[in-house]
């Protein structure tokens, strides 16, 4: 239980890091300039939250009191200023943000407001994946594309798809593919015991499906006006 603390020297590590800061360049009259800021905030509140803001006072001639008032007005709007540029150091009080020099101009990519102005419509998914069995009485309708079922489709269940249907279990219910008029749609299943298969309106019932196909992996597709059902592999 004898712990001896080694007098290790704690090193102060200085690292450089650069951020793109927004530069505010107020112009007279300040009141109108602030109104412009308010308009931006009204369009997208929180637009400046978490962004480093630098105040460039080169184009205005403000007294120390006026600078303090301007900083106060910005604070009221939830905008905190990181540093100030383009002003004599004497005019800055000790409690104000520090004077910055050596800033370089760069292009700000305004990704956020662009998204807000015209919200990009998310592309609708073109396939539907079901990872549990489809039970008797359930009806899965997906007009936008393919349906994939990882389990079985029970007797009395149905899958309706605009595209193809893939079943990695036993198909005991009904499968209707290409219901939007897509005659290239197909139905695949690991084991065929289907009650009904349909593609683009052409159908076969259990009675018509060849007995030799039963319980085997099979696919169904349209050849002209006739439905073909053939074993897979």
């Amino acid at each position: 239980m004898n712990v001896r603390a080694d007098p290790t020297r704690q090193l102060v590590r200085l690292r450089g890091r650069s951020y793109v800061a927004f530069v505010f360049s107020p112009v007279v009259p300040i009141v109108e300039w602030l109104a412009e800021i308010d308009a931006t905030l009204a369009r997208s509140p929180g637009y400046f939250v978490g962004k480093p803001i630098v105040l460039d006072l080169a184009s205005v001639d403000l007294s120390s009191a006026a600078i303090a008032h301007l900083l106060g007005s910005l604070t009221e709007r939830g905008i905190r200023v990181l540093g100030i540029e383009g002003v004599d150091e004497e005019r800055l009080a000790a409690n104000m943000p520090p004077l910055l020099t050596g800033g370089r101009a760069c292009v700000i990519t305004r990704s956020e407001p662009v998204q807000k102005v015209e919200p990009e419509a998310k592309p609708k998914p073109t396939s539907l994946l079901l990872d549990s069995p489809v039970r008797s009485g359930q009806s899965i309708v997906f007009m936008e594309g393919d349906v994939t079922v990882l389990g079985s489709v029970g007797s009395g269940a149905e899958i309706v798809a605009g595209g193809s249907i893939h079943i990695y279990g036993t198909l005991r219910g009904r499968a209707m593919a290409g219901v939007n008029g897509n005659s290239n749609a197909r139905i695949y299943c690991q084991k065929i015991e289907a009650e009904l298969l349909a593609i683009d309106g052409y159908y076969q019932t259990a009675e018509e499906i060849d007995v030799s196909l039963r319980n085997r992996p099979a696919q169904a597709w349209l050849q002209g006006d006739t439905m073909k059902i053939t074993p897979l592999n």
């Binding site: 039970r135 359930q138 389990g151 029970g154 007797s155 036993t170």
Partner: protein
């Protein structure tokens, strides 16, 4: 933590009530506090199978509607003091049940018991959906025949979509209980075999109850089969199933045909 277990099937006559009584009694025999609740309003049977039909004063509907308090309606079993029955009403129908009322009764039962077994009516209408509504677990009673299996599949789909747990994105733990399994007919290939049933339903097996005269005899004297003749084959199968419900590992026994001496003699001669 109290568990609410619904005994359901979709199809009628497969043995839901018998199984509810037998599992309830078996759980109670192992020391659990058990309430069995009859949801078959209008066609109640559980009171008969439990032998409590002469002691029914208040029922589930009275409690749901606030006419009676839960302790007034609960009937204690004559044989096991930690087994209770909440009977259904015979004069009303299923429309008298409300979602909110059933929820309140189940919540109150949860505070008093370890297990609440809900005996579901057949069908997929109001009575059946309300019986499963608040369930944590489900026993799906299935006979080895296609119609029963397909109805069970339908019920499993409803358990996965219409229960409170499903709506909260949780799972209702489901078990298949195969009843009226006849080894002789299974051997002749006249029934769906167990592997096929489990493959179709894709749900774990809780137990296989053999078809037996003992079940009928027990019902006729108003005693759960697990209490009537604990050594009979169905009673042993139900007791094993109840132990699996409590999380024990019990080896699954597939009922086999018991051949008489003459059968064996003849079988050998024919071979």
């Amino acid at each position: 933590m109290a568990k609410v277990l619904v005994v359901t099937s979709g199809k009628g006559g497969v043995g839901k009530t018998t199984s509810t009584a037998a599992l309830g009694a078996a759980l109670a025999q192992s020391g659990q506090n058990v309430a069995v609740v009859d949801f078959d309003v209008g066609l109640r049977n559980l009171d008969l199978v439990m032998g409590a039909e002469r002691r029914v004063v208040f029922d589930l509907i009275n409690v749901v509607q606030g006419v009676a308090k839960l302790p007034q309606a609960l009937i204690r079993d004559k044989r096991l003091e930690n087994l209770w029955l909440l009977p259904a009403s015979q004069t009303r129908d299923k429309d008298a049940l409300t979602d909110e009322g059933v929820g309140r009764v189940i919540a109150e039962l949860r505070s008093r018991f370890d297990w609440i077994l809900c005996d579901s009516p057949a069908g997929i209408e109001r009575g059946a959906t309300l019986a499963m509504r608040y369930a944590d677990e489900a026993v799906i009673v299935t006979n080895p025949e296609v119609s029963s299996v397909r109805d069970s599949d339908r019920i499993i789909g409803m358990l996965d979509s219409k229960t409170v747990r499903a709506e909260r994105g949780e799972r209702v733990e489901k078990h298949i209980l195969i009843t009226r399994y006849d080894p002789a007919r299974a051997a002749r290939g006249e029934m769906l075999n167990i592997d096929d049933i489990l493959e179709i339903l894709a749900t774990p097996l809780l137990g296989i109850i053999p078809e037996s005269q003992d079940v009928l005899k027990a019902s006729n004297v108003g005693t759960p089969v697990t209490l009537n003749n604990a050594e009979s084959a169905p009673a042993r199968a139900y007791t094993d199933a109840s132990r699996r419900l409590m999380g024990e590992e019990v080896a699954m026994v597939v009922p086999a045909e018991r051949k008489g001496f003459m059968d064996r003699l003849l079988g050998r001669r024919a071979a």
